[in-house]
Amino acid sequence: MSPRSATPRSTILSLTVSGLTPVLVLVAVFVTFRGHNAPGGGFAGGLIVGIVLVLRYLTDGTEAVRRLPVDPIVVIGAGLLLAVATGAVPLLFGSSFLESAIWKVNLPLIGEVKIVSSALFDLGVFTLVAGVVAAILVALAEADNEARRGETGDPEDGGPLDADPLDDDDRAEADR
């Protein structure tokens, strides 16, 4: 999407996305954990979180990814680490790679809950996929910024995104 076509951004879209975000994150977590025996899983869940990020990117522009608290590349690494480590830990107990441990716990009110260590694997995949989407958005945002700098025709003065007056107005509007 060219930077110009994104403006002026819609307040309605922005408010809708703000409202949808917690719901979508909940759905993502739900899909991830039901994935053990039913359609779903970490990949699908991670993609749903990715959709949240994409929607945010649509409403808030490059600002959305600048607000990210951690570097996506680290998130990818953490997800992969969790997934591979979950696979490797059984080796320490003499089981085979990727073997899953199963515990059954009786929780008050909820009843019997089955906890499997492979859920951690799914959680790793979830983190990894969400991190990849975030990394893609960061790359897009960088390209976007470069394109804008190119458009102003003065690479030295164009500087960071804040220098673009149009964009400042948009962000102010989105904040309201």
């Binding site: 690494g77 680490l81 696979g87 003499g94 899953s100």
Partner: protein, 490 residues
């Protein structure tokens, strides 16, 4: 050793994860990449020794029964490829760190490289067709990143071709996997030969061709080769060195396994014609080029023809020759690209018209180029001679005179294309505007090139033991591979 073989994929992936987490520190990334790659290399040698002395190793994952679990099998062929692949990837990694080119300094380089290590190792160990596909995907994904990391226009253009063609290849392969499962009910490499033998001839032929197309595209055989000379030269030298040495060979490995083990009775005339066309087109393309990297890339295609010819001829002797040829070709081709990397580092180009007189400036570099160049052309006493001799002897034994004639002519033409590089880059006087003196490059680059060239010389020195190992490997492949997996995990 319950976890055993899984670690060859899990270890590098763990390294990938750690490299991502320490993305801010390039030194930490390099240390992780080197130690993981080094450890995997050492472990692979241990596996090779174990497989040769004790017997094949099998690892099943997840505690599931064999038929449905992810299975890794190391037999002689797999273990041999694992060792040579990991040694090459380690050497090139050290070289790339020495060079410190723009793409190597990217935070994505080390993780992608380790993912490539995981994918290549996994492909050589996969015990069933689906996991072979998955490992292909891992190594392809990593190769997409490595190929286009610099993001120059040229890389993006040829990278697009590379990605699209490999996605098509994956589509054909996964279709083949699905059809094999639909017709035989299994994907286990151990069970497939028996199941496939029970199929009607037409169905088996269809499956055989489908897999041949998929792996043939990966191995760059005629007429599916055109992506290779287009995309490899665009990648940075260390990356194209490891691609040239290894990635096509993963395709050849898959063809070798499927054609000799699964479809032993199929008619090989087609494959023989493909082999001849691959050799001829590859070498003619190489002669027509005027750029070191492009000449070397076309020569890969030509060499793949020799391997396919050996596979097409069939029989223990031919397969032994192919295995030896693969073992020799990986370090030879890698070292040629590493030499090109040193040239490019100093001169900023690999176009022959802008090079010259390198031999006078660095005799060492000239020798480093000449040894693998003669070896590739098949000049005795270098390693290529032994591999080619094996294939040609089998061709004569089987009365396939024409393929022998083609192979010999192509050998001479290969030498011609090498002479083109020699006269263009190393001989004669340097262009006037060039600086004098020794070529500027990091010492690690020449050290690693020496190491790989020394490896090709070692292959000649130990040709006897290596060839007898190749014969044992071929004998393993000739007997039904059911035997390889019933010898359980230690």
């Amino acid at each position: 050793m319950t976890g055993g073989l899984a670690l060859f994929v899990a270890g590098p992936l763990l390294g990938t994860a750690l490299c991502f987490i320490v993305a801010r520190s390039q030194t930490a990334q390099r240390v992780i990449a080197l130690s993981v790659s080094g450890a995997v290399t050492v472990a692979s040698i241990a596996v090779l020794v174990h497989v040769d002395t004790v017997g094949p190793v099998t690892t099943s994952m997840g505690g599931w029964p064999d038929a449905i679990s992810i299975t890794f099998v190391a037999d002689r062929l797999g273990a041999l490829m694992l060792v040579i692949g990991n040694v090459m990837m380690f050497a090139v990694l050290v070289y790339a760190i020495g060079q410190g080119s723009r793409d190597e300094r990217s935070p994505w380089y080390a993780p992608a490289y380790l993912a490539l290590v995981a994918g290549v190792s996994g492909a050589f160990l996969a015990g069933d067709l689906f996991n072979l596909f998955v490992c292909f995907e891992i190594l392809l994904m990593a190769s997409y990143v490595l190929m286009t990391l610099e993001g120059s226009d040229d890389q993006i253009r040829s990278g697009t071709t590379y990605v699209v063609l490999n996605v098509v290849e994956s589509l054909v392969l996964v279709t083949g996997v699905a059809l094999v499962f639909a017709t035989t009910g299994t994907l286990s490499m151990a069970e497939l030969p028996d199941r496939l033998a029970a199929l009607p001839d037409g169905v088996a032929l269809g499956l055989s061709l489908l897999l041949l197309i998929a792996f043939g595209l990966k191995a760059a055989v005629f007429p599916l080769f055109s992506w290779l000379p287009d995309s490899y030269p665009a990648a940075p030298s260390p990356v194209s060195a490891v691609f040239a040495g290894l990635l096509t060979k993963v395709g050849v490995y898959a063809i070798l396994r499927t054609q000799t083990q699964w479809f032993p009775d199929s008619n090989r005339t087609l494959l023989l014609v493909i082999a001849a066309a691959t050799m001829v087109v590859g070498v003619l393309g190489a002669i027509a080029q005027a750029d070191i990297k492009r000449i070397l890339s076309f020569q890969i295609v030509s060499s793949i023809g020799y391997m396919i010819a050996g596979i097409a001829l069939g029989g223990v002797a031919a397969v032994a020759a192919v295995v030896f040829y693969i073992v020799h070709h990986i370090p030879v081709k890698t070292s040629l690209f590493l030499v090109d990397g040193i040239v490019e580092q100093d001169e900023g180009t690999s176009e022959l018209s802008r090079l010259g007189g390198l031999g006078r400036r660095s005799g060492f570099l000239a020798v480093l180029f000449l040894i693998p160049a003669f070896s590739l052309a098949g000049i005795p006493p270098f390693s290529g001679f032994i591999g080619k001799l094996g294939v040609i002897t089998v061709g004569l034994d089987q009365g396939e005179w024409w393929i022998v004639a083609v192979a010999l002519v192509v050998s001479i033409l290969t030498l011609v294309s090498m002479m083109k590089i020699w006269t263009g880059a190393f001989w004669g006087a340097a262009p006037d505007n060039r600086p004098r003196g020794v070529l500027r490059h990091h010492p690690l680059m020449s050290t690693m090139t020496w190491f790989v060239v020394a490896l090709t010389l070692a292959i000649v020195m130990f040709a006897g033991p290596i060839y007898s190992f190749a014969e044992r490997t071929a004998a393993d492949l000739a007997v039904a591979p059911t035997a390889t997996t019933t010898v359980g995990a230690p």
